[in-house]
Amino acid sequence: MIDNNSKDQKLLTEEGISSKILTIYLIWSVIISLGIITFGTILFIITGKSGYNMGNLNSLITAKGSLSTYPFYIQSIWSGVLTLKPFAIIQLGVLILLLTPFGRMLLQFFIFIYEKDTIFAIIALVVFVILMFSLYMVNVLEMLHIA
């Protein structure tokens, strides 16, 4: 009886730690990514320049990503960020935001391992692999000349 209680107690504190880690991770990833997006937007408004070809309002709202409109590859985003191009900074924030759940699943994987929950550690890892596979789908779409 006493053993059971202390076991429950131990489980409770472990759960407490893992949910605390997850909460901190989620809150800070939102704050950091939205902060970067806001910074990029303010820079865009102040300078009046996107760092790329803007054209008129209509071309601005209908533009798909390209070398001249806005970056959407990691290298081009990074080189744009280094030269303080507002649209590249926004894209960096968006990229961090959309990768948050990737990191969250990886974190969940380690939490399940820590809790010695092998089956669910594997499930969490498979979800992470599926997420990584989604990025590979971009190549498939490009090969099919759809994107």
């Binding site: 989620l26 939205l34 709202i61 209908t62 806005y70 989604s134 990025l135």
Partner: protein, 282 residues
């Protein structure tokens, strides 16, 4: 010209805040109204609207999930197991979006909007469902659980049934999410409520955990194919998050179901507009 551009940016921001508030009050999440707003009133191409919306879904989901992780009501095991199916569906959905004609997308969006109003009007899962026996798969994976219900003032133990039909419905919810750039929380809750007979509190909080991970599976595809336009995505992500925060604060104060009905009507009208646009009438 820059004044015109800044004015437009602020207009999108305000519309997104509104969408976030309405989404939170209707229990639907902000994403569901963003695409109609952007396409019908701001003349944004639908793929770019979907790209901006899916990014905002991740922002709101991560923001509110942080609050839900602590409460212990959400069932992380069920959530982790079911995102296997929603993420796979989301990848398929994003793929379908890239090969579907624009008019068809408008039409599907309108139909989905109208369907998602149903659970808003018909209150589902008022009581704790009585499930006699766990599904063998649920037994094996240990999906059953318990939580403290603050209204009933007692520990509620629950069992889980219908894991396979539930998983199939989750795959469909994921496909809708990836195809239309919405969280499709309503469909996830329906799957957990109808097929798996989970208590409504567990369904809603677990669904919130799943929305962000599901959205990430298609958001990557939209981003790296160049469908996330920073000029649109930035005000939408900021606006929906602000709106969701305001909406949740209002929600604590008003509990009347008549408010939900007003928002249900708004969503119905927007859904009809999307169908009419799809049909080429407007």
């Amino acid at each position: 010209m820059i004044y015109l551009i800044v004015e437009y940016l602020i207009e999108i921001l305000i519309a997104s805040i509104l969408a976030g508030i309405i989404g939170a009050l209707g229990g639907l999440g902000g994403g569901v109204l963003i695409v109609p707003f952007l396409t019908l009133y701001f003349h944004v191409p639908i793929s770019l609207a979907i790209g901006a919306s899916i990014v905002s879904v991740i922002a709101t989901s991560s923001g509110s999930a942080a609050a839900y992780v602590r409460d212990k009501i959400s069932n992380i095991r069920i959530g982790t197991f079911l995102v296997l199916f929603t993420t796979t569906g989301a990848i398929l959905g994003a793929f379908i979006e890239h090969v579907t004609p624009v008019k068809v997308l408008f039409f599907i969006f309108g139909v989905v909007l109208i369907i998602s109003v149903i659970p808003m009007l018909k209150k589902i899962g008022e009581e704790v469902p009585n499930v006699e026996k766990n599904d063998p798969l649920a037994e094996k994976l240990g999906l059953y659980g318990e939580y403290y219900d603050s209204v009933l003032k007692r520990e509620v133990k629950y069992k889980v049934t219908g894991v396979k039909p539930g998983a199939a419905m989750m795959f469909m919810a994921g496909t809708i999410s990836g195809l239309l750039g919405i969280g499709s929380g309503a469909f996830k809750v329906l799957a957990m409520d109808l097929a798996m007979r989970l208590p409504i509190k567990v369904s809603t909080t677990t669904s919130n955990f799943m929305i962000g991970v599901t959205a990430a599976a298609s958001a990557g595809i939209y981003f790296f194919t160049g469908d996330v336009n920073p000029f649109i995505a930035a005000p939408v992500a900021m606006g929906v998050l602000i709106g969701a925060i305001i909406g949740t604060k209002i929600l604590v104060r008003i509990r009347s179901s008549s408010v939900r009905k007003i928002f249900a009507v708004i969503i119905l009208i927007v859904g009809l507009e999307m169908i009419l646009r799809g049909a080429g009438v407007i």
